[in-house]
């Protein structure tokens, strides 16, 4: 099962490597990881997308909580949540592909950020499935480059992760 873990952690040097080291040392999976400081710059918020059985996810959560610098861990997939990821895709856009690419970007509510006579750079946000769908929808041969941030997540409504 896919899980999205949100982690509040002290914004200290090396804190990220403790989290990443824990995953590799204990053989857990990281599908994606995104991190940045919060409105309180002494803290960072991390979103880790991982997968595993219920037992494994329980262990991951407990082991993360054991790290001295981790303040809070929440499994967003336990409740309603919003998930967004940003992707930049550089595609070949010349000749007959040019109009088609524009149309595809529009369908996926993407924005074209950069244009040359041979390429577009498209910005897309959405949940990870949507970004996957865009990649699947366009001709593989026209993709020049992709870069994704990994998912960021937040609980819906009154569900708040704060100290």
């Amino acid at each position: 099962m896919r899980h999205i873990l949100s982690i509040l952690i002290e914004n200290e040097p090396g804190a990220l490597s403790r989290v990443v080291g824990l995953f590799s040392a204990r053989g857990y999976n990281i599908d994606s990881l995104s991190v940045a400081t919060t409105e309180d710059t002494t803290m960072s918020r991390m979103t880790i997308v991982t997968h595993g059985s219920d037992e494994v996810i329980e262990q991951i959560t407990k082991q993360l909580n054991k790290l001295i610098e981790v303040i809070k861990v929440v499994d967003l997939t336990d409740g309603n949540h919003i998930e967004r990821e940003l992707m930049l895709v550089k595609v070949r856009a010349a000749g007959k592909d040019r109009d088609e690419m524009k149309r595809m970007a529009d369908i996926f509510r993407g924005r074209i950020l950069d244009v040359t006579d041979r390429s577009y750079t498209v910005e897309l946000t959405g949940d990870s499935d949507k970004l996957d769908a865009f990649i699947a929808a366009i001709e593989p041969g026209v993709i020049l480059e992709t870069v994704r941030t990994g998912a960021s997540g937040i609980g819906r409504g009154e569900r708040i992760l704060k100290i």
Partner: protein, 578 residues
């Protein structure tokens, strides 16, 4: 201590002075260490102070082991001090050993100056990176103004919750820089709130399960020893009338000579302890972690009709290898005390008829006499040496061991009656700990008898510490069970590798008695069973001297019972079956 006023007239201390002051504030008695370039400023302050004694080891690994054993054998905290680069990498084995057994420990390491970090400087290594997976926490202090608060945090983290080693890495320029010193009175960390009280509802539920049990069993681990919960455990076990087993790490946590005690469980545990672990209907696990050496194969261990209650300070130990029915997170001593209160208040008693029937079965298992071995009048049996040592010391000595067959014989045949008397590397299984462990134990308990039960292979992994023992007059007794084999490796090769003894025979051994004499100690070689008792008596009488007893033992003796790897608790090989 030199105090230089700054422009504002406030006294300023150097980082090195602050280190020494912090250790004094924490009432540290001993620092085990080894000097080097990056810690010279600190050593200069060690020279000038008289608050603690420094013990100069002969290898940094031994500094950590000695500090670790100092913690294990007392309720104080061991401290060690090593230099950067190789000083630290030599210490890593010791740190990992302490970490696996949850031993509180402070490691101070020197680092190259901050401006040189990352430049591949002389004796530089990424200390925080190297030690990260084998410490409870570590710090790199880049600003002298953070030093005192870091020490306060380090001691707090090491000793609270599930204890563990904490490392403080200090660049050389930080030890030279100065600032005003003030040791924090207390520490609060929003990200670290250890402990907490066990959930009262869960404790009530557990008490009821234990009262209703027909075949209760109590399984206690190192957490009982670490949290000084022995008295509470004994009281609870007596109230319940249940059998109890203690793991390798828990030995002494329950009196080894008590009628309700079944011995150690696991790979080399007793027949009765393993059978009872498997067949009980309610298992109370206290400060233990269902380790692979304790329960064997988890799927074989699983029984649908058995309820498990698990008390531990570390939530991640619960339901890690075995699913439990009643988890209770808290300090084991507090939880057991509350459980006793609940049982007392309930006015209920366990089911006497069921207990009688349960004990009848247990007595049948005990009648197998699984620790019986063939006595010999020609060759010294290693078990016999441990038994004699137990008799002569009245079970009251501190025993350290290394790793292998001798460790298991020590655990099986020395019946520990008190906690913190059995000092060994349970989790990591580190050969070489025995002698430095004995040093740390003896310094923490200067009047006690301290014996190191070891083998000719393990002892050689830290034998240089005979020199440290000479310098500081540490009169430990070394019981070398010398079978000229890496005994446990040889045993596995005999059982599982068709008697192909690959590299497990130890050739070209030194004359250990002469070697001990060369270091200025007393050394004896004992070859006949009839001489065992006399040699042990002589060693024990020499209160002021280290005595090295080299017992030439049966070469092919095996440790029984044994559960082969991957097998279940009831699939033991017993000596009588061979």
């Amino acid at each position: 201590m030199s105090v230089t006023p700054n422009v504002h007239g406030q006294p300023q201390l150097t980082g090195a002075e602050i280190v020494v002051r912090c250790l004094a504030e924490e009432q540290v008695e001993f620092v085990f260490g080894y000097p080097g370039g990056a810690v010279l400023n600190i050593y200069d302050e060690v020279f000038k102070q008289d608050k603690f004694r420094h013990v100069l080891v002969r290898h940094e690994q031994a500094a950590v082991h000695a500090a670790d054993a100092y913690s294990r054998s007392s309720n104080k905290i061991g401290v060690c001090l090593v230099t950067s680069g190789p000083g630290l990498t030599n210490a890593v084995t010791g740190i990992a050993t302490a970490h696996m057994d949850s031993i509180p420990l402070i490691i101070i390491s020197g680092q190259v100056p901050t401006h040189a970090i990352g430049q591949d400087a002389f004796q530089e290594c990424d200390t925080v990176g190297i030690t990260r997976p084998c410490v409870k926490h570590n710090f790199l202090v880049k600003d002298v103004r953070d030093l005192a608060a870091t020490f306060k945090k380090a001691f707090y983290i090491a000793t609270t919750g599930r204890p563990g080693p904490v490392l403080i890495d200090i660049p050389k320029d930080v030890t030279a820089a100065s600032c005003r010193f003030e040791y924090p009175k207390d520490v609060t960390m929003r990200s670290y709130n250890p402990g907490g009280k066990g959930h009262s509802g869960q404790i009530k539920k557990a008490a009821q399960l234990l009262l209703d049990a027909k075949r209760p069993m109590i399984y206690a681990g190192g957490g009982v020893v670490l949290n000084d919960a022995s008295a509470a455990l004994v009281k609870l076990v007596r109230m319940l009338g249940a059998p109890v087993t203690t793991t390798l790490m828990g030995l002494g946590g329950y009196p080894g000579n008590d009628a309700q005690y079944l011995g150690m469980p696991g790979m080399h545990g007793t027949y009765e302890a393993n059978q009872a672990m498997q067949d009980c209907d309610v298992l109370l696990a206290v400060g233990a972690r269902f380790d692979d050496r304790v329960i064997g194969n988890p799927s074989h261990f699983y029984r649908e009709d058995r309820k498990i209650i698990h008390v531990d300070i570390d939530p991640s130990s619960i339901s890690k290898r075995v699913r439990v029915d009643v988890p209770i997170v808290g300090y084991v001593k507090d939880v057991l005390t509350e459980m006793i209160g609940v049982l007392e208040a309930s006015g209920k008693r366990p089911d006497a008829a069921a207990l009688t029937a349960w004990w009848t079965r247990i007595k049948e298992w005990q009648s197998r006499n699984c620790l019986k071995y063939k006595a010999s009048s020609d060759v010294i049996k290693p078990q016999f040496v441990v038994q004699k040592l137990f008799e002569l010391t009245g079970g009251d000595a501190f025993i350290t061991s290394d790793v292998g067959q001798h460790q298991m014989w020590a655990a099986q045949y020395y019946r520990f009656d008190k906690p913190r008397r059995w000092i060994n590397s349970g989790g990591l299984g580190t050969m070489g700990v025995g002698l430095p462990y004995a040093m740390g134990v003896q310094l923490a308990n200067p009047d006690a008898t301290v014996a190191c039960i070891t083998g000719e292979a393990s002892i050689q992994m830290c034998i240089q510490e005979l020199s440290t023992c000479r310098q500081y007059h540490i009169p430990v007794k070394i019981i070398n069970l010398n079978n000229r084999y890496l005994g446990m490796v040889r045993q596995w090769q005999e059982f599982f590798y068709g008697n192909r003894y690959a590299e497990s025979y130890v050739d070209a051994l030194p004359d250990f008695a002469k070697l001990a004499e060369a270091y200025g100690h007393r050394g004896l070689r004992i070859e006949r069973p009839g001489d065992v008792e006399g040699a042990l008596r002589e060693a024990l009488q020499q209160k002021e001297k280290l005595v090295f007893l080299d017992f030439i033992t049966d070469q092919t003796e095996n440790v029984y019972p044994m559960i082969p790897g991957g097998k279940g608790l009831t699939e033991m090989i017993l000596a009588e079956e061979l």
